[in-house]
Symmetry: D2
Subunit: 406 residues, 4 copies
């Protein structure tokens, strides 16, 4: 059967036509009752809504860095630091998530709070230039590596309509394999994630700059050849960042907070870390962590982030390390793809939830990245404590011998 | 600063208290206006909602298998196949996504439609038993590998309250490293993802069965030691499945559909596959695919799935292979964590969107898994076509020389 | 230029012809002076020799298991254990290696010696059957998974000349992706590594058994499709074994031995393990260990093993864990590809060095695997101790302030 | 049992003492008969020799680049290219290896020969600096990244005895995770692999430069924290190189050479590449290739390379790509750890075999790297052809129906 054409427009008639077509399938129709006008530009074939309940927990105490990009290299410079108390919205339907995350935040708060660091900010489009042999790809690679300054200038001259000024080319890296030269164009994109911007700019570079100037002509250029790290997890971006913000959150939990709030011990947490780190290794896991995606997904849905990036944004490297008087805990999120402008962040509900965190609009993206990292670490701490306790003799006695679970 | 306690309950007063606390932060307050009653049991600290626009596209034509689990081994048996036309809800704010996915579905439909296969169904909790040396761990491993039948019987006898009958233990695998024995308990869980069920059952096994019967006593048992594949991508679960449904979707695109609907060629698509597969390898990507997470996230939000599982569910191995008269395209999703009962799927909007696909309630989970896989492949095909075309000379001429982009 | 044909035979005239051709290139010609007769069947185009110096260290004290394969499943059964003192030959030119390895062995000996465990024994050939679509590959997979018993019977009936009786098929695993069905034939091969045996048997199965009986005919069968783990490291074989012996060596070092022989402390070693484990993770390392390949290469050259397998045989997962009174240290080698019969092990020098370890000939392969694992752990311990010490304040003072390095 | 001390010296008495101790174990004693004098400085506890037969094949035709390092950045500059015909020594005991490699070389020679490219030259020591929290590690990282020029100057001033002038520091990269800052010191080391040189220089930097100048003092510095890529395979060094020479060998096989010499077809080779690339992915392989370690091990043993580096040196990314009139084949070896001076390369047999290839002594290391890469590709081509043919109908008929295998 060939499907008839399904209308894609979002004028009232088209929307109604789609809703009527589905009326018999959908039950009581609450999905069609919401006013769709605010979403008319968000997606084609708009037909209804999904509503997700949002918990808010807080305040989460965190010492946040204040960052700027150095020009023209795009290195992050820390201008100062501020201690903040923030409420965090968690769009979720997972019983226990919000209180667990909050418990971790309380343990951190009693221990002096979280501290966060933004290490790197890049977003990469990896175009591929295909030749008939490696020698040509090598010659091309040597040439294109020298062109960054000229490319910046060319992009700044607005040679084509539709190019983004926000997407600034910072570096190029090449990777030659077989008859291919992969070219990683690394951009910064202001407060947006910027995939669309960098796609347009990379495409323009490929077709307008490279095609005309390269001393050796590619037989074919492909906008993306899968070294760019978009929406699929890879070691390249786990180690080095380059697709979003590389952020680290840390805190040094006191023994008192571990005992009283987390109801476990430094020793128990370290045994869990030993087992969990080696278990991750044994299973070929591309992260060392417990459940970072849970916190990140909940904030992403609430704030209009690209939920298809939950996987890559959740790549995480967590550590636990005994220090005098307690335990240092940290999580490194190498590729947190967050925005405070553009895409879903401009829509009504998302905008409000961003505002709750003081993260609405331009100039707020590093703040948001740090709050997400702190919230993620809060959940890691609490979930780890629950897991660590569950294996101890005390837990066993409490729940089995005294009847807890029965 | 020590945070004051934030109320976690969802009675009207607590909800209102939270909303009032945040009133000054949130702007015009549309996030608080929705009736929260249907969500009162979904999350603690419930405070508002997020609303996500939903596109619906279709029909998508697919030949779906009808599967049952063999008892007691839990092998999937195909009882029959049905050709279906399905509308798919996509909660998203990404311009172009819904029409691109639909374009891929049309190309497939004109080529005979998608065909889908469910290969495996398991959900794993990997507990770890810690000893003082390897010899003890080895002895323990040899013992526990023989206990599956007894464990099934013990669980069936309902030795503790709160155990799930839906979570059926199918196999155990052990992995000894250092002084640890990791034990992968592989369950099936009916139409739910079942993390809570298997957590309870695994915990009971550890504390009630193992602790009492093991010939060598672990010094500590940990409910999860990170070989279980929960919410973090790993090679183990990419290759073998074991955390959700392993599903493959395929179609054989005709040259005519490729030319007329996708506006590219078999050769162009194969060049892209060559470049993209090697690019994935070069960057240490844990998938070979273009953008599976995009489709999966959109369906997950609409249907109340656990969005923290978007990353693991999007692990994907795609292929493109020239056949007589066209191109065979496929995607293997080794760990698609979908449910039609439990968790967020029971809530109003989710239930309705599941119903649109004929996937509401018990007995529908393999159907849902297959529809998700087909939709994911639809988007892969269309996105690949766009990418392949963008690198060809034709595209260049059309857009640059004739002024398309300018 | 088209090269003239270079003689490949090993009769005296051909050997001399090659030597004369190279005489002007080779200098004083010691490489041609050795009697080549014993090697005439070892390699075509035999022209000279390489001589590698061999250190011998020991005794290494180890408690070795005595294993047999259960029939027909091929599960390893431990029949007993023996404490042994073994001298180990190390063909190497790396100053410090032999004494370092011996230092580790002494530390272990003073702590009660090593203990070793063979967990699994398999060698895999992964053939691939190619179809025009996934449905056919799925149907094929379902069929072939049921054929193990019949395949064993067919192989035992000697349907073709040249099949090996030593190569016993134990299990089949399939992996369908795209239009392919990969079939992992897992064999045991007695005391040989057995690549040639299993190649012949797998090829016969593909062409004689599968081609005639499969209900759906592959369009093409390929003897190896790269899931077999031969000579390239992969997560599959790192986690599960299946290409050689999976062996674990362990010992519990006393504080006294750590202090007196290794000149470091439990704390220092644990700090190194913390740093080294997270460093391995951060760099995407496919092992957690320090220098296993060094020990393994040295024993492989001396004993005529396949040195092309040094990389895969050196996959390693090491752990360090504090216990009462000391430190538990272990290394898991999931795919140690050793032999005591066949290939290079039958040649003069190799045979002698095997004999030094009591590992010559049939029935000795698990012994050899365990000795290699113990020697590898010995070097790990000593090298780690050197590394751990080097970072401590004590080392700094000893070497810099008191002039050690100056 | 506590082992008595085993003499480690290499004076004649100590050697004889060891030989006598082992006399009863070793059989006829050919391992002790070789003159050990030339090896007295190669390894402690020298006791005997291993003799490995060496095949020589050739000539292999290759177009080799002539490279120099730019100062001070250490970028490789190609000064010219030369066509060469080289004989290659293969220390091995694997029947078929030498003639198979030679067959691949002939197919390449008839197609115009190999062409090779050296892309990068670095050797890395990754020291780790441990702090009590991440903030300190971040501050340290920001500081040390600015110190490269000063470090170069400090090393050049010879502040300590025993530092190497050959080991030139080129770049530093940092990686902060948890309370650690990993510092990758990337050196070039002339014609040696240089692990000892860079170990000394890195240690001196850590203890003499960093310890005195760092604005924030590490609580501990560890010479190597496992991000350095030494002897264990990792994605970091697979993708980027940095541990040895990154070399690519390529050739464009004509249809005629494929048919006549390799006895297969472009189509068959491409089917194999399709299956093998996806099989590698499916099994989590850290290379895409068939058997690079075989060629590399054989040359390494003959030429006195560090055989413990066979695994890392064999990391490989191979491609096969259809071009007009034939097939482009290539292999990228990202971390080929070869030397023409130092270590085992200075010993008698090794020196002679290096001389056969025109690779003895200083100034030859890039030549050697390229010859190894060409030889590796030669074997890949031939082994792939054998594998591809084995699955075709023709092969089946030839061997089964006409009785080949029977």
């Amino acid at each position: 059967m060939t499907p008839r054409r399904w209308p894609r427009k979002n004028d009232p008639d088209s929307i109604r036509a789609r809703q009527e077509e589905l009326a018999g399938l959908v039950g009581d129709g609450e999905v069609f009752r919401h006013d769709l006008a605010p979403f008319a530009k968000a997606t084609e074939a708009l037909t209804g809504v999904a509503v997700v309940p949002v918990a808010v927990v807080g305040p989460i105490d965190a010492d946040l860095g204040d960052y700027e990009l150095d020009e023209p290299d795009g290195v992050l410079v820390e201008r100062g630091r501020n201690s903040e108390s923030v409420y965090v919205p968690l769009a979720n339907t997972e019983g226990g998530l919000s209180i667990s995350l909050y418990r971790g935040a309380r343990a951190a708060a009693e221990s002096g709070g979280f501290r966060t660091h933004v290490m790197r900010d890049r977003i990469t489009r990896a175009s591929t230039f295909l030749f008939n042999d490696t020698a040509a790809a090598v010659e091309f690679a040597r040439w294109i590596e020298t062109q960054v300054a000229d490319m910046r200038e060319w992009l700044a001259s607005a040679p084509l309509e539709g190019l983004s000024k926000h997407a600034r080319l910072r570096e190029i890296e090449t990777h030659v394999v077989g008859p291919m030269c992969h070219v990683m164009y690394a951009f910064t994109t202001g407060d947006a994630v910027g995939m669309n911007m960098i796609t347009r700019n990379a495409f323009a570079l490929n077709q307008g700059f490279v095609a005309e100037r390269a001393p050796v002509k590619p037989k074919r250029s492909l906008l993306e050849g899968n070294m760019g790290g978009d929406k699929k997890i890879s070691h390249r971006y786990f180690e080095r960042g380059g697709h979003g913000k590389t952020v680290i959150a840390e805190c040094t939990l006191t023994e008192e907070a571990i005992r009283r709030i987390l109801r476990t011990t430094v020793d128990d947490l370290l045994e869990l870390a030993f087992v969990g780190t080696h278990g991750a290794f044994a299973s070929g896991m591309q992260s060392v962590a417990f459940t970072p995606a849970t916190a990140i997904a909940a904030i992403f849905i609430a704030t209009g982030q690209d939920v298809g990036m939950v996987g890559t944004s959740s790549m995480a490297h967590g550590t636990a390390y005994r220090v005098e008087g307690g335990l240092h805990a940290s999580i490194r999120l190498p590729g947190l793809e967050v925005a405070t402008v553009g895409g879903g962040t401009t829509l009504p509900y998302a905008r409000s939830w961003l505002r709750v965190m003081g993260c609405e609009g331009p100039g707020k993206v590093y703040r948001l990245a740090q709050i997400v990292a702190a919230a993620t670490l809060a959940l890691e701490i609490s979930a780890s404590a629950a897991m660590a306790t569950a294996g101890s003799e005390n837990f066993y006695r409490a729940h089995f011998e005294r009847g807890g679970l029965r």
